[in-house]
Symmetry: C2
Subunit: 338 residues, 2 copies
């Protein structure tokens, strides 16, 4: 009570541990980093001291002296595709965590090069060792180039900068699988409600659809563009409902598909009796809304993890690491044979 109880309450440092263990700070450092040349006996003493003092290493100091932060930045888009975004984030974080990396996020409110630049700067300021861009940016500015030249960067499904590598999810494949399924059911023509044109995902899915139709000798009708939201699907669905001979629709996302379905039904078409619909994502709700959706699932968690592997390992910039598979449910059927 006289002040003798006073404690500095400072976190113990490596020097403290060294003192307790009766070795030098350098040895403590080596022990904690699994350097090869440490006597097992010494190591034990050091670890005991760490335990006893509740030592926790100071990341900032480590970064400052080693030059590497063991943090990777993740750039996300705030809107659109809640599901895939969450899955990508989880995959990135898990893979990074396993390698001892932390993940720092920067979200941008919408696709905009200015916002993108600011986010990259922010991450660069934090001294991240690498960046995963999970935003389908298409145009790349000088400033972005500058940053990605200094920091290893992997773009998930976006444009390639001079130095950023791109991890492709084969979105074309998704488009092809969906379209193929409809053609196999006997439909003669497949309409498409696409995502916004600035999204690479959207473009590629559309390409897959076009190619598949072309391969079948069918001329593709003009695609109807949405913005991933159910509402945009609904509006394009109203358009489709006015076209008499539509029997099959490929929607670029589950959420838009539900919008399309609603509009078609309000327009007097039955799904799947009159019109079949396939989409992409396989969100959890796809199986539970009415009708259960036939949809192409892609493993975004895996693609997040793969992006990290690519970043840290300098692994092959493999073009396609993520596969797509079709979940057939009740939104598709053969065309009415009339």
């Amino acid at each position: 009570m006289t002040g003798a109880t006073e404690r500095p309450a400072r976190q113990p440092s490596m020097t403290d541990v060294a003192r307790t263990a009766g070795v030098s700070a350098q040895t403590v450092s080596r022990t904690l980093r699994d350097s090869p040349n440490v006597n097992p006996e010494t190591r034990k003493r050091v670890l005991a001291a760490v335990e006893q003092l509740g030592y926790r290493f100071n990341n900032a100091a480590r970064v400052l002296s080693s030059g590497r932060s063991h943090t990777i930045g993740l750039v996300l888009l705030q809107s659109g595709g809640y599901y895939s975004r969450s899955a990508v984030t989880a995959g990135v974080e898990a893979a990074a965590g396993e390698e001892g990396y932390a993940v720092s996020i920067a979200t941008i409110a919408r696709l905009d090069t200015g916002l993108m630049e600011r986010s990259l700067s922010k991450l660069a300021d934090q001294g991240v060792d690498g960046i995963v861009i999970a935003v389908p940016l298409i145009s790349v500015t000088q400033k972005m180039e500058d940053i990605t030249r200094d920091i290893p960067t992997v773009t998930l499904d976006g444009s390639r900068t001079a130095s950023a590598r791109v991890l492709g999810i084969d979105q074309k494949e998704a488009g092809r699988i969906a379209t193929r399924h409809l053609l196999d059911l006997g439909h003669r023509q497949v309409w498409h409600v696409s995502g916004p044109d600035e999204w690479i995902e959207a473009r590629q899915r559309r390409q897959g659809w076009q190619e598949c139709l072309a391969a079948a000798g069918v001329e593709a009708p003009p695609p109807l563009e949405g913005d991933w939201s159910p509402d945009s699907g609904y509006r394009q669905g109203q358009v489709l409902a006015m076209i008499p001979d539509v029997t099959a629709v490929f929607a670029a996302s589950d959420e838009m598909a539900f919008g399309v379905i609603r509009a078609l039904r309000e327009g007097g078409r039955s799904v799947p009796a009159d019109v079949s619909i396939v989409s992409v994502d396989d969100i959890e709700l796809a199986a539970y809304c009415a009708p259960p959706l036939t949809t192409v699932r892609q493993d975004f968690y895996r693609s997040g993890a793969a992006a990290v592997a690519l970043l840290l390992r300098q692994a092959d910039a493999g073009e396609t690491l993520v596969t797509a598979s079709l979940s057939v449910r009740a939104s598709t059927a053969p065309p009415r044979s009339r």
Copy 2:
């Protein structure tokens, strides 16, 4: 080509800037941190030098010397409630960004105290200045207490530790609003499909439901517990479908509600003609699946932002900052008057 072109390629440091601007490093530091006592003239010179050299401050060094990292940690649960998680994340990141803070995330795969401890340790190791726990943890371990004693922490809808403050979202209110709506429509009894009992959200929504029924003099039937997934809603819906006099159901999340609806329909009940359903969340799809869902919306983006404000400002640990509002759509109707 003779080596004269060689550049160290090192990032310029504050000293470099100082040299270029003809001032001391300290003055540069003061300028960049908006210290009051800097001559406008000097400031201009410094900023020019910064611009010219493309100077970018070294975060690690700043952390090391100032002791503050300007980073806050965000703990998320990987599964369950994609929507609210994304919204919370965005809110946290936006609010933190405005205050000049970065956000580092740590996700845990499931509700588990061990995983939770590890995540907190990880964030503590990174030297975060504060932590937002967006995981509804209920039991708190000694280790968690230790960490939250050293680092300011705000829990969004979770248990209070000795030192962590809690930002309450009034989930009870959501339960009350939903139940009230059904009673107002004329239903005599309201069943409840709840979230998992370990989630505070789930408990509170259930309490709101119970209190509202109690206030109306109705004895609450036993709640049916789900895990937020559509599938769990479906299974509990099958139970409800076997009970003859069910006319109104309050589901604790939109996703479960869709599962319930599907099961009820398969069991021969029409929604909303035979059974009305209200849920909570108002995800985007709520309006587009069949039937459009009557649901209680809560603003998770705002609550994420509020958590950050609470953390950084030491603002009032106000109990309820986030309000709930009802979106009435087509899954509810007055009971069949027979």
